[in-house]
């Protein structure tokens, strides 16, 4: 009996590991920044280059920082979701226009609608590096103390918004 059980158990263990592995997304790298203060930055705004925006101004508010770009393909998928969210006035969404040209970024928002309170211009991608951005779009949920509570890698979907992001926002706003 033992002779058959042992290989069977070994097989089941291996099959279990492989099955779990099938469901994992290797592109999703957990961010070490969750639970840490959002890196400070001061950048010129997209629409008003003479004005600056800095993450430190947002202390006391729960807000979303959405990293986007006019050249980013998945951003197109996510854009209507953000536009819809901005109409509901639940949580302010700020944009970080990552490695983009000003006129391209402006044209892009003109076409698809502008869901952002404002966008900051990260032309060289340095702030992106500080935030550990590696695949646009990425969205950060930042709480009143300026701590990153959640990071969505890839496009925000209506499901994720409803199931994860908005409940978290409500919970953080209540604090």
């Amino acid at each position: 009996m033992m002779r058959f059980m042992l290989p069977l158990v070994a097989f089941l263990v291996l099959a279990g590991f492989l099955y779990v592995g099938l469901g994992l997304n290797p592109r999703e790298v957990p961010s070490p920044l969750i639970g840490k203060p959002a890196p400070a930055f001061t950048l010129p705004q997209l629409h008003e280059p003479n004005k600056q925006f800095s993450a430190q101004e947002m202390k006391g508010k729960v807000w979303l920082l959405n990293v986007w770009s006019s050249w980013c393909v998945s951003c197109r998928e996510e854009h209507p979701v953000l536009v819809d969210l901005s109409r509901q006035n639940i949580v302010p969404v700020y944009g970080l226009d990552y490695k983009d040209k000003r006129e391209d970024g402006e044209a892009w928002l003109e076409r698809g609608g502008n869901p952002y309170v404002l966008s900051a211009m990260d032309a060289e991608g340095r702030v992106g590096i500080d935030y550990g951005v590696y695949g646009v779009p990425e969205t950060y949920v930042i709480d009143k103390q300026g701590i990153i509570q959640y990071k969505e890698i890839g496009p925000v979907t209506p499901q994720n918004l409803k199931n994860k992001i908005l409940p978290l926002v409500a919970q953080l706003q209540a604090k």
């Binding site: 592109r27 961010s31 070490p32 590096i129 550990g132």
Partner: protein
Amino acid sequence: MKRLLILLLCLMPVLAFAGEAKDIAEDPVVEKRMVGLAENLRCLVCQNESLASSHAELAEDLRREVREQIKKGMTDKEIVDYLVARYGDFVLYDPPVKSYTVLLWFGPFALFLIGGGGLFYQLRKRRSNPPESELTPEAEQRAAALLNDNKENQA
């Protein structure tokens, strides 16, 4: 005219390649250190490539960042820590021993010990009780006679 055209065509690749050189820094010492570091770091965009060999834009930016930090006089450890703080242990091709990497580091040794132990146990069991003959005494006698016969024939 034809020759001039051919000559110009031959020079085309030279012009085409001109863009590639941008990535190489002016300072070969800095470059060498940067490449040495980047070879052990993983590119986040093309995950099976090192930061040194990747052509992804992010990899270029990170190489620029590493170069600047080398020029600022930061140590290798400081630079690696800088990247780990932003992208996590994922960027390291040589992951540190932590609670969740124990299986990764010691799993193969554990498997080796289990396999080796099993083999050792099986071999010892086999040696201590050799398989008993299933032949009847008569059959054994016949076998012995046949074997002897064979030997005599050969001689």
